[in-house]
Every structure is written in structure tokens, then in C-alpha cells.
Amino acid sequence: MPPITATYTEEELVLLLQQQSRDAFNYLYKQYAAVLYGTIKNVIHDEHTGQDVLQEVFVKIWNNIAQYNPHKGRIYTWMINIARNAAIDKLRSKGEIMKGKIQTGEDAVNILAGGRKSEQVTDTIGLRKMVDGLRPEYSAIITLAYFKGYTMDEISKELGIPLGTVKTRMRNAIHQLREIFNN
């Protein structure tokens, strides 16, 4: 079996996956395993659990590819969402999310500043390390919303800031991300 070296467009990838061949899987894994695993690892820090979730995610993508509708969004986003949801799901089912939740805005700052629970620290620091120059409050809000699946209400309570501020801060955070990536 010759190794796959080509890069497919999203449309081609969908067609490939629909064939359900080993080649298709190899390509999928090679292209996306690291991103999906990274996404999962942002939520779940336990190696073993993370690997279990990664396996679940691939099985899910594989078996649900027929349900993917290209008109409804990019397959990349679709797969990342499956990974994130599976990870958050696993975390919540284990009750770990409550452990991980920060109680007050002050606590959040402490954690962002490098104190307290190692799990939270890894998140935000990881994100800030990866995304150089992202302001700490933006890093916190992206972590909570994008990687932890918090709703606006939850974020508002979590960080002790008004709902309106949550929204504008989300906007600013992603705006800063865009600027960082564009440079």
C-alpha cells in the first residue's frame, strides 16, 4: 500500500472518508490526529483518558461521516467540535468540570498568574505559550468558552464580570487572536 502523500481539499476528504478505506483512515489520522488530540488535551489532562477520547472521536467521525453536511460548515470545524464535545462530555460525566471550575474572578486571576490547580494552570499557560502575546484575560475567556464549553452565563459567574463584558471580551479576544495569526 503506497503511502498517501497528497493533500486533499475538504470536499475530496469527505469523498475519501465515505469510501471507508484504510488509506482514507491513514490520511485522516495523519492530517488531524494531532489537532484533535491537542483539542482533547486542552480539556482533559489525563493521558490515558485523553487517548480513550481520541479513539472515541475517530470512531465517531468514521461512523458519522455520512451525516456531515458540507453546506453546514467546514469538516475541520465539524471534527474539532466532535473532539471538543466528546472531551467536555467525558469531563462532565466524570464530575471533573466542577473540580476545575474557578470560584471567583480573583481566583481566576491567581490561577492565570500561576497559582492553584495545576490543571487550570496548564490550560491557560499552554494557550498563552502557544499564542504568544494573547492577553491573560483573553486567554481565560477563550479557554472557558472554546475549550471548556462554558456558556456566557457561566463565564460571567465564573469570572465575576457582567454578561455584556463577557461578550465584548470574547469579541476582543478572538480579534486579538486574528491579529496574532495574521502577522
Binding site: 484504510r22 483512515f25 489520522y29 490526529a33 494531532a34 489537532v35 488530540y37 491537542g38 483539542t39 488535551k41 486542552n42 493521558e47 487517548q51 481520541l54 479513539q55 472515541e56 475517530f58 470512531v59 465517531k60 468514521w62 461512523n63 458519522n64 453536511n69 453546506h71 453546514k72 460548515g73 467546514r74 475541520y76 470545524t77 465539524w78 474539532i80 467540535n81 471538543r84 464535545n85 467536555i88 462530555d89 467525558k90 494557550l127 502557544m130 499564542v131 477563550i142 468558552a145 472554546y146 464549553g149 462554558y150 456558556t151 456566557m152 463565564i155 463577557v166 461578550k167 465584548t168 471580551r169 470574547m170 469579541r171 476582543n172 479576544a173 478572538i174 487572536l177 486574528r178 495569526f181
Partner: protein
């Protein structure tokens, strides 16, 4: 809509991150569908977060690829769905798969709306039908009641007639037409001893509009008014007791007069001698 202001509010970011309430999410999805600049902005947001994900990539440990392939082989399409569905079903408020849930909700909203409209229409038409039935029933009841009243009055007329017939002192005076070519007749029952008189204008046509029949008694060669006859009596077997007590008279007559009557008869229609 001021799309710039809308974008600046941060609602698209919240939407993409799945942090909105279902109601808000449906609203935003509707706005995106109708404003291309919002879709464009959403695309940039998606790209930024996809790039963020790429930046956070972590290489899984070696051996995972084969392990996962084995798992896929074991799962099969069906069993795979079984093991994965619970997680799909449980999916948390977080739904950054932005168009899919929105579309799904739209479908649900439309189905609900159409269903509700259908149900409303069904109930409305049922209600209308019930109401129409009710109206029809009421009308039927009314006509039955009217018929009943008609029969009751008819019976009472016949009873009156019967009791009059039984009265041995009762004279029957048939009034004949005074208008050549017009066959008309009326009947007067008179009990001279009691002074009671009953009149029926069964054989006379309905008077023209604004006209009325007037009953006369001829006493000493002069007509004396006995009163006006209600128009409904014409051409029916209805019989009416004359209010006036009559103890003397040589003849009875009915004339056509203007409504309310005249002191003297104008056109005598029927006349009957005692």
C-alpha cells in the same frame, strides 16, 4: 440593521462558541442568513479558532493509529453508532458547530409552527363547524317552536270553534261577497242571548298594504263599527271573539278600510243577513 455595531457587540463570537441561549442562537442564525457580511465575519472567527486549534496540536503517542483503526474495525457502522451515540446525545450546551444546530432548530421551529398552525386550523375549523351546527340547530329549534305554536293556536281555534258549535244558541251568519267576480266569504257566529260574537275571515284575501278589514253590524239600517280585524286572520281559519257585546242586529258586513278604520264603511266586501 447596523451590521458593524452588531459585529462589534461580540455576539457572533458567542454564537460560534455556542455560548448563546437557543433563542438568541436562532436569532443570530437568522441574521447571518440574511446578512452576508455577518457570514463573512463568522468565517474569519472560524478561521481564527481553527488556527488556534492547529497551534495547540499535540502528537498522540505512537501506536495510537493502529489501535484506533482496530477500534473502528470492531465498531462497525452499527455498533459504532451505539457506542458513540450516548455521547452525541448528551452533548452539552456547547455547540460551536454553528450552522448545524441552528438549522436543526429552524427545522424544529418550522415543524412546531406548521404543526401549531395545522392544529389551530383544525381546531378553528372544528370550532366553526360546531358553531355552524349550533346555529343550524338553533334555527331548527326555532322553526320547530314556531310550528309547535302554530299547531297550538290552530288547536285552540278548533277548540273555540267546537265549543261555539256546541252552543245551541249560537247563530251562524255567512257573509257573502259584494264584489262581483271576487268569490269571498266570512263567517260570524253570534249568540244573541249572550251578546258574544266570533268572526272568521277564512275566505277573504290578505288586505293590501296599509288597508284593514273593518267589521260592521247593521242596526236599524245603520252600520255600527264592531272594530278592526287583524290582517293575520285573513285567509286562515283563525277565529276572533269580537270585543263588543252585540244584542241587536239585522246584518253583519266587512269592508276594506284604511288602517285604523273609518266611521262609515267605504267598500263593503262581504255582507250576511241574520
Amino acid at each position: 440593521m447596523d451590521t458593524r455595531q452588531y459585529i462589534d457587540s461580540g455576539i457572533l463570537e458567542a454564537y460560534f462558541l455556542g455560548s448563546l441561549s437557543p433563542e438568541e442562537e436562532a436569532l443570530v442564525a437568522a441574521n447571518i442568513a440574511t446578512h452576508p457580511e455577518l457570514a463573512e465575519e463568522l468565517h474569519h472567527i472560524e478561521n481564527a479558532l481553527l488556527q488556534l486549534s492547529s497551534n495547540l496540536a499535540v502528537e498522540p503517542p505512537a501506536g495510537m493509529q493502529d489501535k484506533i483503526w482496530d477500534a473502528i474495525q470492531r465498531s462497525g457502522a452499527n455498533t459504532g453508532a451505539e457506542t458513540t451515540e450516548p455521547h452525541m446525545a448528551k452533548t452539552i450546551p456547547f455547540q460551536p458547530e454553528y450552522r448545524k444546530p441552528a438549522q436543526w432548530k429552524y427545522a424544529a421551529i418550522w415543524i412546531a409552527l406548521i404543526g401549531s398552525a395545522g392544529l389551530n386550523f383544525f381546531l378553528f375549523s372544528q370550532n366553526s363547524r360546531t358553531r355552524a351546527n349550533e346555529v343550524a340547530m338553533t334555527a331548527q329549534m326555532d322553526s320547530l317552536n314556531a310550528a309547535k305554536q302554530q299547531f297550538a293556536s290552530l288547536i285552540s281555534e278548533y277548540q273555540k270553534n267546537k265549543s261555539m258549535m256546541a252552543d245551541t244558541g249560537m247563530q251562524t251568519i255567512v257573509m257573502h261577497t259584494m264584489q262581483p267576480g271576487h268569490a269571498m266569504a266570512a263567517t260570524l257566529y253570534w249568540s244573541k242571548t249572550h251578546g258574544d260574537a266570533y268572526v272568521s275571515v277564512d275566505g277573504m284575501p290578505q288586505p293590501p298594504k296599509g288597508m284593514q278589514y273593518q267589521l260592521w253590524v247593521i242596526q236599524g239600517g245603520k252600520p255600527v263599527s264592531m272594530g278592526m280585524l287583524p290582517n293575520y286572520m285573513a285567509n286562515t281559519p283563525a277565529m276572533q271573539k269580537v270585543a263588543m257585546q252585540i244584542t241587536d242586529g239585522q246584518a253583519f258586513a266587512i269592508s276594506l278600510e284604511k288602517e285604523g278604520g273609518n266611521p262609515t264603511p267605504t267598500t263593503v266586501y262581504v255582507l250576511g243577513k241574520v
